[in-house]
């Protein structure tokens, strides 16, 4: 009678089986077991090199537990670099090897890979259609960011304008004729307006004399130069003369205009205010006087 063989029998006789030195009687009994036992069949196949083991979690894990300890924590420390493809040669292959067998680390790696793509896409969120409008409305009420920057940029724009000097001359002339234009304000009355009128008279005489003074000295200059200066100078003189004439013309226009639209209304306003003030001070002093009387009579 042949004895029935078990799993342990195969393990004990494994070396003999592989070396084909097992007695036939035992071989038949062992074959009968292996045919019915998946585990032993696999063991034989692996030992003969016919099959590469695929599910060795238990085996490798068991060995590591009794030797170096789990490799997972080491893999965790390298996993970000692995996902970012920053690992050098062997390290990448070793981690890849671990991931092939360790489902825990493999899942973690796949989440890390997903996050690499998904997180940057979460940088922007739409705050809704009314957001921009509400921010602009909220900032409109606040002061402009920088008054100095505003002023400086305006000035730099002004100075960069090509006709700046011409404009400056124009504005200067405008100012002179507006302030010292010889417009009569004597009618305003009062000490202050009398002083202003006197001041203005002096100035207007000066301003009115200026063209004569200028043209006289221009004639002197021209005469003294005439003998020596060539046609070029004459042409320049003609151009300058006509420029001066047109300047004089526009200055007169400007004066008429400012007289009509600015100084006359202003003078009228000043007169009006002066009258109102005088009227008020008269009524005030008479009220004071009438208040004084009862006090005096009471005593």
């Amino acid at each position: 009678m042949k004895q029935a063989m078990g799993c342990s029998d195969l393990v004990e006789r494994l070396e003999l089986v592989l070396g084909k030195q097992l007695p036939d009687s035992e071989l038949v009994a062992l074959k009968a077991h292996v045919e019915g036992c998946e585990r032993c069949r696999q063991l034989l196949e692996v030992c003969r090199g016919e099959q590469v083991l695929e599910h060795t979690d238990g085996l490798v894990g068991g060995v590591l537990a009794r030797t170096s300890g789990s490799a997972c924590s080491r893999v965790h420390s390298m996993l970000c670099d692995y996902v970012d493809q920053m690992l050098q040669g062997d390290d990448a292959a070793l981690v890849q090897g671990h991931l092939n067998y360790c489902s825990g680390c493999a899942q973690l790696a796949s989440v890390l890979e997903e996050l690499v793509v998904a997180l940057p896409q979460m940088a922007s969120l739409d705050p809704g259609p009314f957001f921009t409008g509400s921010v602009v409305a909220a900032t409109r009420s606040t002061q402009p960011p920088d008054k100095w920057a505003l002023l400086l940029s305006y000035l730099s724009q002004v100075f960069q304008r090509p006709r700046f000097s011409l404009e400056a001359a124009y504005v200067g002339a405008l100012l002179i004729f507006l302030v010292f234009g010889g417009v009569p304000v004597k009618s305003v009355g009062g000490v202050a307006s009398a002083t202003l009128a006197g001041f203005q008279l002096n100035l207007s005489e000066l301003v009115q004399d200026t063209p004569a003074v200028l043209s006289n000295s221009w004639a002197d200059f021209y005469n003294s130069c005439e003998s020596r200066v060539e046609r070029k100078m004459q042409a320049t003189q003609v151009a300058l003369g006509s420029a001066f004439e047109s300047l004089q013309g526009s200055a007169e226009q400007l004066r008429d205009m400012s007289d009509e639209h600015l100084l006359k209304p202003t003078a009228a306003l000043i007169q009006d205010v002066t009258e109102k003030y005088e009227e008020y001070s008269r009524s005030f002093s008479s009220a004071e006087a009438s208040e004084d009387h009862p006090v005096e009579t009471a005593e």
Binding site: L119, G128, T132
Partner: protein, 200 residues
């Protein structure tokens, strides 16, 4: 998504826009707000985890930006500067509220993500569910780890820029950033395995 923000931004020179804003140009200011509002709102949202609070906060942040435009650097460092203001305002907000919202309270679907509408609705919906899970997991991290994820992985800042914003040494950030990512992945895994029973 960030792509359309960059697209509109690239048509205009940021230095020129900033220059105009400093001069009080309302149109330039409006365009600056429009171009950066989704980044500021997105960043604030990841800190405060509440869309209403984040919207109010983002508006306050832009008012602050407007008042400080004079101190604003050139175009290259504008974004880190903007993020610094946003981050500090968000931290102040959290400090005022005194509570870190528990992960369970984080609204998952009340977001108006900037998605390309080319993809089909189901795919979009699945993506949103997944994002909700990431946000939930993010709220489970410690503040520093959360900030590292928000600034580096989500907003794409460099370690140098982050060190300036968080006032933490680069070395610390470098060693912590892998740990933070791994921790986030672990939380995501745990949350999705918790959901696994109902989903599959």
């Amino acid at each position: 998504m960030g792509a359309d923000v960059r697209a509109t931004g690239s048509q205009l020179n940021l230095d020129e826009v900033l220059h105009r804003c400093r001069r009080g140009d309302e149109l330039a200011w409006e365009s600056l707000v429009r171009n950066y509002q989704s980044r500021v709102y997105g960043l604030a949202y990841h800190y405060v985890a509440n869309s209403e609070d984040a919207r109010d906060l983002a508006q306050d942040i832009f008012v602050k930006v407007y008042k400080n435009l004079r101190k604003c650097p050139n175009a290259d460092s504008f974004l880190p500067w903007l993020f610094r203001i946003t981050r500090n305002a968000s931290i102040d907000h959290l400090r005022r509220k005194r509570v870190r919202p528990p992960a369970s309270q984080v609204a998952e679907m009340d977001m108006n993500s900037l998605v390309d509408h080319s993809c089909d609705p189901e795919e979009h919906w699945l993506k949103e569910v997944r994002r909700g899970l990431f946000r939930k997991a993010l709220q489970m991290l410690t503040l520093l780890n959360r900030e590292i994820i928000i600034l580096k992985e989500i907003q794409g800042l460099t370690l140098e820029e982050m060190a300036g914003i968080l006032d933490v040494p680069i070395g610390t950030l470098k060693s912590r950033s892998h740990r933070a990512r791994l921790e986030l992945a672990e939380k995501v895994l745990a949350l999705s395995q918790g959901q696994g029973g109902t989903n599959s």
